[in-house]
Each structure stands twice: as structure tokens, then as C-alpha cells.
């Protein structure tokens, strides 16, 4: 097996997030609640965000899916917690560029997220990785409008 290629996809830090997800669960009712799924494969995420004065105060996720989708959700919540909405959206933009194999802004410290870079080599799995980020974008944007 081409395990070298696989190792690019399944980095240790990804498997760690999959095995012990950060911020798993749901926040209470006055938070923003977004549910999204990937209709082609059945991955499902429920994301709850507490956004106050333009800051993502807290984030939790629940759901089911493959290692990539769940690890990405875990990393995303970790990354956006405490950030202002603009920064969260900027991170999402960078992440999207990374998935599409484009040049991305590397002046911002991406932390664990960097480990997902290998996913861009597996076109069928990109949607798994972006699901949680799409949910976050939807969440902070809907909060901004209300």
C-alpha cells in the first residue's frame, strides 16, 4: 500500500483530533445553532456558536462522519474560539484556499489546521474537511444579521 501518501492524509495530529475531539457537544439555547450535512456521503454536523459583540466566545460541535470531517470540525472550533468574526471568516478563507491547493496567506499561525493540508491531494475528501467551516461561516454570518 502507498502508505506514504496515506500518511500525508492521515497525519498524527488529525487522528488525535478524531480520537479525542476538542469542544465536542452543544452549547445551550441562546447560542447560534447550525446543522449541515454532506448529502452525498451522510456526514452530519451540528455546530453551536456563542457570538457576543463580534467575538466568537464559545463553539461546540456534534455529529458523525469520517476522521477527516470530525477532525476538521474539532480543529475549527479550537481555531475560532476567542477570535473576532472577521478573523474567523479570514481563517475559513485561508482554509478553503488550502483545500483547493491554492497559495494561501501563511502569515497567520494556523496551528493544527496546517495538518489538513494533505487533504487537497484527495479531491473526494475535500468536502469532508470543509463541512464544519461552511457551518461556521453560516453561523457567524447569520448572527451578524440579527
Amino acid at each position: 500500500m502507498s502508505s506514504k501518501n496515506l500518511d500525508q492524509l492521515y497525519r498524527q495530529v488529525i487522528m488525535d483530533h478524531y480520537k479525542t475531539p476538542r469542544n465536542k457537544g452543544t452549547l445551550d439555547n441562546d447560542s447560534v445553532n447550525i446543522e449541515m450535512n454532506n448529502p452525498t456521503c451522510g456526514d452530519r454536523i451540528q455546530l453551536t456558536l456563542q457570538v457576543e459583540e463580534g467575538i466568537v466566545k464559545d463553539a461546540k460541535f456534534d455529529g458523525e462522519g469520517c476522521s477527516i470531517s470530525m477532525a476538521s470540525a474539532s480543529m475549527m472550533t479550537q481555531a475560532v474560539k476567542g477570535k473576532d468574526v472577521d478573523t474567523a471568516l479570514q481563517l475559513s478563507h485561508i482554509f478553503s484556499d488550502m483545500m483547493l491547493g491554492k497559495e494561501y496567506d501563511d502569515t497567520i499561525d494556523l496551528g493544527d489546521i496546517e495538518a489538513l493540508q494533505g487533504v487537497s491531494q484527495f479531491p473526494a475528501r475535500i468536502k469532508c474537511a470543509t463541512l464544519a467551516w461552511k457551518a461556521m461561516e453560516k453561523g457567524v454570518q447569520s448572527e451578524g444579521k440579527s
Partner: protein
């Protein structure tokens, strides 16, 4: 034809994927195409292409003969009484939608029932959901037995005198279950309902005899049985089709067009609005010739053998669970499984890196996934070109996947 010889007719299988010889185990999604079908399409476009049923010039006549010739091949293939009962459409989905929109709208009234099962593919659920909503009808689901089969008692319990339509898949695309269509048809008829059969997974693998089944409608797709994509068939009993209105209007399907009113051609053309899928039909005809040369009974035997072998060797893998009937004689060449806690996407990616193509996901059967209490599964499906060595490669790949993820779980 022996398997190795059959395999040699499929040029696509002779390649490496991710550095390994390709093992294609996703034929339930779409089958590969033999050189006979590819050549038939090429020949049609290089020598015979013209629009059909417009007479006069030679190419037009040739194209018409080929298109209608393919219809006769389909008629024989499913043993319909007449080519009037064979409608060329885009595929199974279009065919089932036609029945729902034409027959359904005209015959289903408020409070009537439409009966389907928990194992249906989305294409045999949603047309009925829509019809039920529109007509105020009730959509009922037949429950499954523990092993993913259907019992006639449950069918009898679900089908009543209020039932207008019973629609069921012949072979499950997830469980591989072969359903007792002939018996279910009888129950439907006893209650005055029509029987619709989703034959997408059956037509490639079993000898179909619509007269013996006595079903009223039978839908299938060309691309799952060695034919091209974009061509499918709706069989319907002549009496029913004659009384049904077309759902697509335009060229090709009309008899006389006035300013404010028009009349339709006779069967089967009244349901084939627009320039038909000529090359697709020619390709399907070539696919039928190819399958007939191997022999449908041979194919069915081969599928059972593949399923039996796969279930045998796969069950030796610790932590691997297989869904559906345990008796290989009760299932077609489809084996759906999960490997411990490794998500099927991850399994499929690891297998792909070894050149093995399987399907992962909900297989367009979300209600069934709910019944199985899982969100996704992996599926290996076999066809005429697969043999035991492909299954051995699968098992080897699964063992690697298990090992690869063993550190994590």
C-alpha cells in the same frame, strides 16, 4: 466465456490506479463497458448518425432501423409482448418519475395509499413522496426482517383495498436482497393496485421476464448493464400505457399539431418527446447482445458465487460486519459492510490507494441507513468481469486498512 476472457473485453480494467492494477468493485453504481459497446457507439457516430423517424434519406433510415432494432432487443431481453411496451428514457429515475407523474396523478386520489419499502433507493421514494403530497395520499413503508429481507406477511399487512400503487426494488443496491416480486405483484393485484418494479439492480444480473412477473411497470438503466449512461427503459403493460398521458411534450411525440390542440403518436413514441437517445439505445442493444452471449443464468450464477466467496473470506476479518441476507443464494453480487469503528470513507480512501474502487456513503438510501442504524457503509459490488482474485485483493486491502487505523482505535 470464461471470466478472464470476459475481462479482456473491458479496456478500462487494464490500467494501474495509484500504482496498483485496478480492481473495480463499484458496478452497482455503474458498470464498465465492453469494447463491443464502445465500438457500437463509435460505429454509429462514424457511419449511421442521423435523426430518426424522418424518413427520406438513407442515413435517417439506417438510424431509425438501429434505434427501433434496439427496442426489439430490449423487448426480447425482458420478454415483453410488444415493442409498444418498451419506452426509451434517460434511466430508472426518469422512468419511475414518469409512472408517478402520469399514472399516479391520474389514478391516485386523496386518502389512497402508495406502498413502498424501507430498502428503496431515493429514486423509488421521492417520486412517490411528491405524488402523495400533491394528491393527499398516504405513503406506507413495508418493514424489513432482521436479515434485510421482506416477508410476504408484511406485504399483505401493508397492502389494502385503498392501495393504488405498490412500488418495490427487485434487487437492493445496499443489501443485495432479491425481493419476491412475482408474489408481491400477486398481492398488489388482489387488492386492485398496480405493481411498479425498480429493476435497476436486477436487469444487469438476472433473467427478466415481465410476463412471468406480471408486473405493470418495470424500470431499468442501461449504464448498470454494460451500456452507456443516459439510456434507460420503462416497460409498461400496453393497456395501462395507452390510457396514460405523456409528461413531456414537443417534437417526435406528436401526431397532429393544431394551434390550440394536438394529438399524440401511438405507443411507444408518445412518451419519447424530443430527439430520442439514439446512440444510447444502439449502445444498450450492443450491451444486451454482449450479456446474452454470456447468458443471464450464467451471470446470476457467477454473482451468487462471488457473493458467497466474498462473504466467506470477508467474515474472517475481525471486526468486519456484513449487512443483509446471510444466505448468498438470497443476494446478488453486492456486499455492504463496515470495518470496526473505521469510517467507510476512510476505508474507501485506503482501498483506493491500493487501486481498489468501492463505494462509501449512504448509497442513495437514507431511510435504509436509518433502519440499519448507521450513517454510512462501504459497499463492494461484483459483475461479469470480477473474479476471486479481485476479492482476495479487497480482503488484503481491508486488512491493511485495519492495520493502518489500529493505532488510532
Amino acid at each position: 466465456m470464461m471470466n478472464r476472457e470476459i475481462k479482456s473485453y473491458f479496456p478500462i480494467l487494464d490500467q494501474e490506479v495509484n500504482g496498483h492494477p485496478l480492481v473495480y468493485l463499484d458496478s452497482a453504481a455503474t458498470s464498465q463497458k465492453p469494447v463491443q459497446v464502445i465500438e457500437a457507439l463509435k460505429h454509429y457516430y462514424e457511419f449511421d448518425n442521423a435523426n430518426v423517424h424522418r424518413g427520406v434519406h438513407t442515413l435517417g433510415n439506417r438510424a431509425t432501423d438501429m434505434y427501433e432494432g434496439a427496442r426489439e432487443k430490449v423487448r426480447k431481453f425482458i420478454n415483453a409482448t410488444s415493442t409498444e411496451e418498451v419506452i426509451f428514457l434517460r434511466g430508472t429515475t426518469t422512468a419511475l418519475n414518469l409512472v408517478a407523474q402520469s399514472y399516479g396523478r391520474a389514478n391516485v386520489e386523496e386518502g389512497d395509499e402508495i406502498v413502498i419499502t424501507y430498502m428503496e433507493h431515493h429514486s423509488n421514494i421521492i417520486p412517490w413522496q411528491q405524488l402523495a403530497k400533491e394528491r393527499g395520499a398516504i405513503l406506507k413503508y413495508i418493514e424489513l426482517n432482521e436479515d434485510g429481507t421482506i416477508s410476504l406477511e408484511q406485504v399483505r399487512a401493508a397492502v389494502t383495498e385503498r392501495t393504488k400503487i405498490v412500488s418495490m426494488m427487485y434487487v437492493s443496491n445496499v443489501l443485495g436482497t432479491m425481493n419476491p416480486i412475482k408474489e408481491v405483484t400477486q398481492i398488489a393485484h388482489e387488492n386492485g393496485a398496480v405493481m411498479v418494479v425498480d429493476g435497476a439492480q436486477a436487469a444487469p444480473h438476472l433473467k427478466i421476464d415481465v410476463q412471468d412477473l406480471d408486473c405493470d411497470f418495470f424500470a431499468f438503466s442501461g449504464h448498470k448493464m454494460c451500456g452507456p449512461t443516459g439510456i434507460g427503459v420503462l416497460y409498461g403493460k400496453k393497456d395501462l400505457l395507452n390510457n396514460m398521458e405523456p409528461v413531456e411534450f414537443g417534437g417526435e411525440m406528436i401526431d397532429f399539431v393544431g394551434l390550440y390542440d394536438s394529438t399524440w403518436k401511438e405507443l411507444p413514441w408518445k412518451f419519447e418527446g424530443g430527439t430520442p437517445i439514439i446512440a444510447g439505445a444502439v449502445g444498450l442493444g450492443a450491451a444486451i447482445d454482449f450479456l446474452n452471449e454470456i447468458g443471464l443464468p450464467e451471470i446470476e450464477k457467477h454473482e451468487h458465487k462471488m457473493a458467497a466467496y466474498a462473504m466467506d473470506v470477508m467474515s474472517e476479518i475481525d471486526g468486519l460486519s456484513i449487512y443483509g441476507p446471510t444466505d448468498p443464494q438470497k443476494r446478488a453480487g453486492i456486499v455492504t459492510f463496515n470495518l470496526n469503528d473505521v469510517h467507510p470513507h476512510d476505508v474507501a480512501t485506503v482501498l483506493d490507494m491500493s487501486g481498489i474502487a468501492v463505494r462509501a456513503g449512504h448509497h442513495c438510501a437514507q431511510p435504509l441507513m436509518k433502519w440499519l442504524q448507521c450513517t454510512a457503509t462501504a459497499r463492494a459490488s461484483f459483475y461479469v468481469y470480477n473474479d476471486e482474485s479481485d476479492i482476495d485483493r479487497l480482503v488484503e486491502g481491508l486488512r491493511s486498512a485495519k492495520e493502518y487505523f489500529s493505532d488510532v482505535f
